[in-house]
Amino acid sequence: MSYIEFLTSYGPQLLEGSVTTAKQTILAATLAVMIALVAGLMRLSKNRFVYGTATVYIEIFRGTSLLVQLYWIFFVLPLFGLTLEKFTAGFIAVGMNLGAYGAELVRGGILSVPRGQWEAATALSMPPGKRMRRIIFPQAFLNMLPPWGNLLIELLKGTALVALISVADLMFMARKINGTTYLSAQVFGSALIIYYLMSRGLVTPYMRWLERVMARKLGKIK
């Protein structure tokens, strides 16, 4: 079977899987960003309970494996009365895991804004909430965009694990086709290339674009 024949027979299935992977990525990324913002800000709190809660969350999710977390959420949570559908369990696990890494980027980004900016905002009598939202965060956001680009690629790669709880993503489809055809090089090779194109053809250019737009908004010439 030539590669062209292979693609015409199995391309549609791989495409279908890719769409699921894209959905998982977008949902997980949204969740990760929200968690990162909340946990990252909590890590800057002076309140020990708030700080401690975020720290425990981050340490648990960064200290164990994504796969362990995924299985735990999918197989163990139902015992606590919380049953998630596999698609939902998938992106929630990925989002919660990468969100913990993102929280540290948020914290680092905020700390990277020079002291003078905090002081200037305070001197203008800005209340803390406004100071964060209008002065500190926009600058922090620009600083943390490059590492977020890498994190989102990690996130995309992380979604491949949801195949192990039978979410029909690209990885899952590749395994399925491999199981019936044994054309391993073609199937897994194609899947690798699709993941590569998604990373470098979609995620990276999108993040570069976002960096440019934000830089322009903040009056930094790039």
């Binding site: 200290g63 362990v68 197989f75 790669k157 590749a174 391993s184």
Partner: protein, 224 residues
């Protein structure tokens, strides 16, 4: 708590502890391969031959942009198509070693690039050859800078070893799965696996941070 059974825990704990040995072995072996291969990737990207530099660069980029779990399948299932049979362990070590070699090569590269140009020029003006310049002047300064990244990936590789379960390497996750399907109980094995990872990775990360401070001090380098 929610039907948590301690006697079941004490039944399965010995098996999990034994599997932890395999997890650690896989991490250390994988990291060893990655550390050496990563250096090769980093140095070959700095040769004079533009074509070699470019090819290695693209390869590293490709590996870094695609999922490890898929790479594990690829190595395990594709090799037999070309007449080579890899055991799960061999395939797993090749995949994880290559994957982390790509990450580490970037860490090394950043470390090498952080060494100021003046150090190269001083070495050149003392007639040190390229090999000695690397081994005695540049790498000793690059490695402490790279140490933080290297440490992160050591913990990272540990946390990625559960993926080896998909091709049947009998590490922690694989054992927990087996226990789960034998007894139809997942609460204890998966929770214990999570705890074991925490118990290993948290102190390791802390220890690495302290070691970094110590190394810089010992080498007379300023701390960052």
């Amino acid at each position: 708590m929610f039907d948590w059974r301690w006697e079941f825990v004490s039944d399965i704990l010995p098996r999990l502890v034994k599997a932890t040995g395999n997890t650690l072995l896989a991490s250390v072996l994988g990291y060893g391969i990655a550390a050496v291969l990563g250096l090769v990737f980093a140095l070959t990207q700095r040769t004079r031959f533009a074509l070699v530099n470019r090819a290695v660069r693209e390869f590293v980029e490709f590996i870094r942009s695609t999922p490890l779990v898929l790479q594990i399948f690829f190595v395990f299932y594709v090799a037999p198509q070309f007449g080579v049979m890899f055991s799960p362990w061999t395939a797993g070590m090749i995949a994880i070693g290559l994957h982390y070699a790509s990450y580490l090569s970037e860490v090394y590269r950043a470390g090498i690039e952080s060494v100021p140009r003046g150090q190269w020029e001083a070495a050149t003006s003392l007639s040190l050859g390229p090999r000695r310049t690397y081994s005695r002047i540049i790498l000793p300064q690059a490695i402490p800078t790279a140490f933080a990244g290297m440490g992160n990936y050591l913990v990272g590789i540990l946390k990625d070893t559960p993926m080896l379960s998909v091709i049947g390497v009998a590490e922690l996750m694989h054992t927990a799965n087996a226990i789960g399907s034998e007894h139809y109980r997942f609460l204890e094995p998966y929770t214990l696996v999570g705890l074991i990872f925490l118990i290993i990775s948290l102190p390791t990360a802390g220890g690495l941070r302290r070691a970094e401070v110590k190394i810089r001090k010992k080498m007379g380098l300023r701390s960052i």
